[in-house]
Subunit: 223 residues, 2 copies
């Protein structure tokens, strides 16, 4: 988000995006595709989390993934091995996905054949927060190596999400991260948020996260 | 950076910023203030690095700091304890500092009384790369907990900097990070870059980083 931009232009951009996000949501609901937007700083472990979650989801559901990256397809190539359909969006200079980029993919039949669409946003704790894509749930990952003060410094994204996953919790013995304080900062911003402390290397809370996700998915498919 | 923005508006923004950055540079050179822009993802350790660098720099030089954050002044409060003059810029919705924000501070006499100005940008690996502030040197921090593929995924910022600091190297035994590969990715993008592997908890290469910084500062003050 550029401070120098005319505020009017920015509001116009956000209004356009919200309208297209609504359009995307209608597509998802027509095809019964439960859609999740994963957001975090670079390197917080979005790809690893999606990879591990897919291993479980794919046993019962048809899954698609949208990979948002400035350039390249490293993560897309990696996630294709899971067996999910993976679609790459190259954002170029853009620091976040927007609803228009996702809308362009919606003519790809396979996305709409899915029960669950996992969207990996560009690594950024600022702008993705203001650009909804039409998703049903918004998940923010905070790696415990980033420090427990991040919710205080990047409040918008933590205020406006359904779940916060504290990731890389296997590193807790080696870093100075107060999990209780971080959880409180998040809950103060967002009283309805769910939080889970996970690690892809240890079991820990990962099962609770998967249970939450599968329950939400089941409820959605029933409705 | 918003993909939906008219490309013309974006180019106009960047041209305006470059012009103001040039103006800032003239201010810095008039007062003999060596200026450094520190950029990284959120939580890569910019504040800790600046804090530890200041402890050494302040023995010989007058130092100022500009702290860029969306909201709050946690880092500014922390760095004031060093004895440096610290100026806070609240970027609000903006995901990076720009030259105009820095220009506004330049009437603050104390910045121009400094030998060295350390600027901590907003945690973001995308947009700060395209918005120079007038700085003499650009330093990018990559925490080894973020993964060795980050230069491939966020090439612009790694291509356009003077130094890359691999930070939190005390955690190398606990994460899967190939330091030689990361160094090669950075050098392929940017053959003239200097790289240092540092940790604020161990001495390691920190002394080499400080030596580089103090040499550059001396050369600047001599010229």
């Amino acid at each position: 988000m550029h401070e120098s931009s005319d505020e009017h232009i920015l509001e116009h951009l956000l209004a356009d995006n919200n309208e297209l996000a609504q359009h995307n949501r209608e597509h998802f609901d027509k095809s019964g595709t439960f859609s999740i937007n994963f957001m975090s700083a670079p390197g917080a472990g979005k790809t690893s989390l999606i990879e591990k979650s897919l291993a479980s989801l794919l046993k019962s559901y048809r899954c698609s993934v949208i990979e948002g990256d400035m350039v390249g397809d490293l993560d897309a190539t990696r996630l294709r091995k899971s067996g999910a359909d993976v679609f790459q969006i190259a954002t170029g200079r853009a620091c976040h996905l927007d609803a228009k980029m996702v809308a362009r993919l919606l003519h790809e039949d396979k996305i709409e054949e899915s029960d669950c669409l996992l969207i990996e946003n560009v690594g950024n704790l600022v702008c993705p927060a203001e650009f909804p894509l039409g998703e049903h749930k918004r998940i923010v990952l905070l790696s415990i190596t980033e420090g427990d003060d991040k919710p205080l410094k990047y409040p918008v994204i933590f205020r406006n999400c359904d779940v916060v996953l504290f990731t890389k919790c296997d590193l807790l013995p080696y870093v100075n991260f107060d999990l209780a304080a971080a959880k409180k900062y998040v809950e103060d911003l967002n009283p309805k948020v769910k939080t889970f402390s996970v690690s892809i290397k240890e079991s820990g809370d990962f099962a609770s996260w998967m249970q939450w996700l599968e329950n939400e998915l089941k409820d959605y498919k029933k409705a």
